[in-house]
């Protein structure tokens, strides 16, 4: 008797929290429906049904999502594993960096395949995948199914080259247009004391992520990475998977970087300075050039010019490489490994796929990108516009949106306009230049491997990657000679399963993206 009463009471309690509301055209279901969601993202954000964004979602769709992830936990990956291990799955699971997990556990039967549901019930998703086939291929599992809906960023640009314009002016130099001019400029930064303190303490090139220094090999016509992550594989023009650090071209390029490093053109402390490199070197009036994100780097013009008179940082077009070509490996991905999936125990797949679809519709994108209408944004001429109070707030706009529960890494389509409205003018200038220049080379979105392929990759790749980064760093620092160790390096790669990793990935790539 008691056993039946408790759930009944709970049900009435739950029903009591669901108020009857006015019907919206975006309603997914006529009867209010509650679904459970586990969403723990970036080690700190969880889905909270009491936040304005969740309430607005309920008002718009008549679907209430109730969060089940712990609000006090600080490791999203761990929370995901725990939730999976308990075997008690909620209706929806979401978060960042879960692509491989969604695919792996999807094939093991924890998540529902979505292909049919998308075809039948999700017009927006279907249209999106039709116009973005590369995204569809990137998320398709080896068994041909789609198990999750990804977070799709918008906009083209991620990082760019930044240089001290006031130093250039002082030394009577122009913005470098080629690799040779770039070398001259960095050399002058080092030798001619642009900060005027009488000491040779200028740091011509530096970066807050040490691995970004390898991007300089682009100027010697070589690849440094295949995606916005560092040291990633890339796909050549013939559809073959390669690793930049194993290419013959890399030998000459890294020898040149070692020369730059020895001449003091690259930050001597690049491997240990890390996160606060820009703050340190710009405020000490020592840093000359860096490769970094637009919005945050442009911001130094405002914060540093108070302490360093005349400080002017501008973005420049990528100088042409030794073959006279301007190009850039880093752009904004069309897809992130974040998103959400519906579990095998979800009893309302149709409503759930409609919810996933909602975030690819205009109304859903506005909600996720701009927050709640009337609270954070207003409609102007049919377009969402952030309120003045939001734009003028001392807190960055994205932080304000996180606080109301928007922008969480669920499966949604970003609207670049959201970012544009609060990007400062100096950054916008650079972004527009890079977008117009369109110097980007295609990105590699990774492959979804079968169990056997994954086993080979897992067995060899971590060691290989460690070895590659070890050698590259030794070459740049000059502790090992490129010429003396290159053959040994290639032999060791060969002996440690490098070819096996490449061919496992190639098989997966051909299956997923089609053989060329």
């Amino acid at each position: 008797m008691k056993k039946t009463i408790v759930p009944l009471m709970l049900a009435t309690l739950l029903a009591g929290t669901v108020p009857a509301q006015a019907k919206e055209p975006t309603w997914i279901t006529d009867k209010p429906l509650t679904l459970k969601i586990h969403l723990h993202a970036r080690d700190k954000y969880v889905w909270d049904e009491n936040l304005p964004m969740s309430k607005e979602l309920f008002r718009l769709t008549n679907l209430q999502l109730v969060g089940t992830a712990s609000k006090t936990a600080t490791n999203s990956q761990e929370q995901f594993n725990l939730m999976m291990a308990t075997g008690k799955l909620p209706d929806i699971v979401g978060g960042d960096s879960l692509k491989d997990n969604f695919i792996r556990y999807g094939m093991e039967g924890a998540f529902q395949p979505l292909n049919k549901l998308i075809d039948q019930h999700a017009p927006n998703l279907k249209a999106f995948f039709d116009s973005h086939p590369q995204v569809k291929r990137a998320i398709t599992a080896p068994d041909g199914n789609i198990y999750f809906i990804p977070y799709v960023p918008d906009g083209k640009v991620s990082r760019g080259w930044w240089i001290r314009k006031d130093w250039l002016d002082k030394l009577g130099l122009k913005e470098p247009q080629t690799i040779n001019e770039l070398y001259t400029v960095l050399k002058a930064f080092r030798e001619k004391d642009p900060n005027g303190n009488g000491k040779k303490n200028e740091v011509p090139f530096f970066d807050k992520e040490p691995e970004r220094l390898y991007n300089l090999v682009n100027f010697y016509g070589c690849r440094a990475t295949g995606s916005d992550a560092s040291m990633d594989f890339y796909v050549d023009d013939n559809g073959k998977i390669r690793h930049p650090f194993a290419e013959p071209c890399f030998k000459d390029a890294i020898r040149n970087l070692a020369k730059w490093y020895a001449e003091g053109l690259i930050d001597a402390e690049i491997y240990t300075r890390k996160n606060r490199a820009r703050e340190q070197l710009f405020s000490a009036n020592q840093g000359g050039m860096t490769f970094d994100w637009f919005a945050s780097t442009a911001g130094f013009n405002d914060s540093i010019s108070k302490t360093v008179p005349g400080f002017k940082l501008v973005s420049i077009a990528p100088p042409a490489d030794i073959n006279g070509r301007r190009w850039l490996e880093n752009s904004r991905a069309d897809m992130r490994p974040d998103g959400w999936a519906m579990t095998i125990t979800n009893k309302n797949p149709v409503e759930t796929i409609k919810l996933f679809d909602f975030f690819f519709s205009r109304a859903g994108r506005n909600l996720q990108n701009f927050g709640v209408e009337g609270l954070t944004y207003d409609m102007k001429d049919g377009k969402p516009q952030f309120k003045e109070s939001v734009l003028k707030n001392a807190k960055p706009v994205n932080n304000q949106l996180w606080e109301i529960g928007a922008l969480l890494p669920i499966g949604y389509w970003m609207d670049y306009e959201y970012e544009r409205q609060w990007t400062n003018p100096a950054a916008l200038e650079g972004i527009d230049m890079y977008t117009k220049g369109n110097w980007f080379v295609p990105m590699f979105y990774g492959v979804n491997m079968k169990k056997e392929e994954r086993a080979i990759y897992d067995q060899y790749w971590p060691d290989l990657q460690t070895y590659m980064s070890e050698m590259a760093q030794n070459w740049v620092l000059g502790t090992k000679s490129v010429d003396k160790t290159w053959d040994e390096y290639q032999a060791r790669l060969k002996a440690s399963g490098f070819q096996a990793v490449l061919s496992a990935m190639q098989t997966a790539y051909d299956r997923q993206y089609g053989k060329r």
Binding site: Q77, F80, A110, A268, T272, D458, T466, N474, T479
Partner: protein, 320 residues
């Protein structure tokens, strides 16, 4: 005598019942003591014995969805992977070398420190010294790593400024494999020696003062008292701590290494725990990481057993 004879001949059931009753009686009498023991026992059960079940992961292809019990067995496959990896073997070697150096170089320091502190006559001075040497222990390793990076910076670091002043070349210490062990062990000594000396100081305090008094009457010098009385009296403490230390020979402070190492210093800096961290946790390969952990535990157990036997033979004291 006759009583015992009869009780031995009692049937098993009776004897069990008697034993049980004796235990109950014991429990009733000393229940307070047992109650105080309980939290520790529970802690051991929950945090050390129950997780033992998870060790089977080392022999399984782990899937969080299938769970520990549902994941398929793979035998020794993970161990084969580990021992085929040159980097794992290198990590094992590095761990042993760093540990051996730490034991040889860092283990005696707190003992020396305790002896020296013990000889200080002025109470005030002694308190001040103790506070100063204990302090670094309470600084987080993250801060210590930051201090080390700043001190050793090739452009602005104190150490390099001193080198240049002496007419020597500047060195980018943290990227040089040959410097890593010295930096790691040296800064560890600075951080922990003071705090570790507390145990030895306590052992010195518990030495019977009568020994010193009679030695003084016999005209012994302070040096003689230290080498003939103080040191021999704390040898058992030293032995026990050394055995415990040997048991942790494969546990090298992993957060601290992560904060200080670089790909270019992996050659000397990469230890088992950092290897597990990179392969197991960053790559979410819990099964492989567990296998490495099991290997770690087995080696540690063997070392403790050997060290304990040696200690019993040489000093007649041991942990067990």
């Amino acid at each position: 005598m006759a009583d015992i004879q009869t009780s031995v001949r009692e049937p098993l059931g009776t004897r069990l019942r008697q034993g049980w009753q004796a235990a109950l009686k014991d429990l009733r009498r000393d229940w307070l003591l047992y109650a105080m023991l309980a939290p520790t026992l529970i802690w051991f059960l929950v945090f050390l014995y129950m997780p033992l079940d998870g060790l089977q992961l080392a022999f399984k292809q782990y899937s969080a969805w299938k769970g520990i019990d549902g994941s398929p067995w793979v035998g020794f496959a993970h161990f084969v992977t580990l021992f085929q990896s040159e980097q794992f073997l290198r990590a094992v070697g590095n761990t042993l070398i760093i540990s051996a150096y730490s034991i040889v170089l860092a283990f005696p320091v707190p003992i020396l420190l305790a002896l020296m502190i013990n000889e200080v006559q002025s109470q005030r001075y002694r308190k001040a010294v103790q506070t100063i040497v204990y302090l670094p222990h309470f600084i987080s390793v993250v801060i210590v790593a930051g201090i080390v990076v700043a001190f050793l910076s090739p452009t602005t670091g104190v150490v390099n400024n001193a080198l240049e002043f002496l007419g020597l070349d500047r060195i980018y210490f943290l990227t040089r494999p040959e410097w890593f062990r010295s930096i790691f062990i040296g800064s560890n000594i600075w951080k922990e020696a003071g705090f570790d000396s507390i145990v030895f100081l306590a052992a010195i305090m518990s030495i019977n003062p009568a020994l010193y008094e009679s030695a003084q009457v016999d005209g012994a010098s302070r040096w003689q008292m230290m080498t003939r009385i103080t040191l021999p009296c704390i040898v058992p403490t030293i032995a026990v701590l050394l055995v415990i230390r040997l048991g942790r020979v494969l546990e090298v402070g992993f957060e601290y290494i992560i904060l200080l190492y670089q790909p270019s210093t992996f050659e000397t800096a990469d230890v088992i725990s950092t290897y597990i961290y990179r392969q197991g946790l960053q790559g979410a390969r819990y099964d492989l990481a567990t296998a490495a952990g099991v290997f770690n535990a087995v080696v540690a157990l063997v070392l403790v057993l050997v060290a304990n036997r040696l200690s019993r033979r040489i000093t007649r004291t041991g942990v067990f």
